[in-house]
Subunit: 180 residues, 2 copies
């Protein structure tokens, strides 16, 4: 089964701490297998590890300084999709991308700030989730939700210490030790 990885380009310490954490957790919850940052931030790493430890699964966290090499290497085994408000409309390209995803991995790139021109050129697709300014968290979420057509909302995470049973009117939480 092909997998999705997410590359977060850039990260401004302090300013981006929480947004980057939201990016990582969204990647995990919507079905990506790995988040790659280009800047070290111990607090983001810890937040993500804490979630994985409690909620299960094998979501990977990586820091890669040479992101150009990472992208180029990735292209040997999959397609690279850069999410940008300048890109082609996701509505039109999603069927084609979903088709390619049948046998190719996907690397989704989202920027924290202005993205170098080279990224536009390296990407197989520059895709917009609308052409209005909003949020890279929102863009990533919608892209993954559409790619997986809602299936990843049922993911079961191995070794979870805590699970939620969906309910329309109350909180139902199952803990490993049955404390609650």
């Amino acid at each position: 089964m092909p997998v999705v990885e997410v590359l977060r380009l850039g990260h401004r310490l302090e300013r981006d701490k929480r947004i980057s954490t939201h990016v990582a957790l969204t990647a995990r919850a919507l079905g990506a297998k790995k988040i790659i940052f280009t800047v070290e931030d111990e607090s983001v790493k810890k937040s993500v590890e804490k979630i994985v430890n409690t909620w299960g699964g094998d979501f990977k966290f990586e820091v890669v300084k040479n992101w150009k090499k990472y992208i180029k290497d990735f292209k040997e085994r999959g397609i690279v999709i850069h999410l940008t408000m300048y890109g082609a409309n996701v509505n039109e390209y999603m069927p084609k991308i979903r088709d390619e995803f049948k046998d190719k991995d996907i690397l989704v790139i989202i920027g924290a700030e202005k993205v170098p021109k080279e990224v536009y050129e390296l990407a197989d697709y520059n895709i917009s989730i609308g052409n209005q300014p909003h949020s890279e968290v929102a863009a990533l979420a919608i892209f993954l939700d559409r790619l997986f057509e809602g299936r990843t909302l049922y993911n079961d995470y191995k070794n979870a210490k805590i699970k939620i049973i969906p309910s329309k009117d109350k909180k139902i939480v199952i803990r490993e030790n049955n404390e609650n």
Copy 2:
């Protein structure tokens, strides 16, 4: 045409500044007509107003201290949907919600932190975008994208000073004064 409003419950100054801004911009870009905060934050307000001023449209920004009254009043004219990781799966409820949206406005509630029990009771639907911890920005984005079935990605905003023409390989920006 029924409209969507978004109520952001709670907001921790500094800590939530950027997340709350992303929430507001996501609401606007995905088709909501108004964001309502329960806490004043001048910097969030300014960021949103700047976007509306440049990118057009009539997205409203409001601060409401008595949110319980706001929710109760809203229920006279529409339905209230609380997005929470404990809620019923959006996959199952979206068809019904879309059907109600034909003639009723929708108020989407998302919390910044732990949400009072009363919200679960006031809401007509408590809906989860998956039952894993991720991001209220992601949850809101996916909810609106599904509600409007991608149509809002084509929204045209009146009085925009700047517009982007979607493109798969380059940045095409149109400015009011044709400077670029």
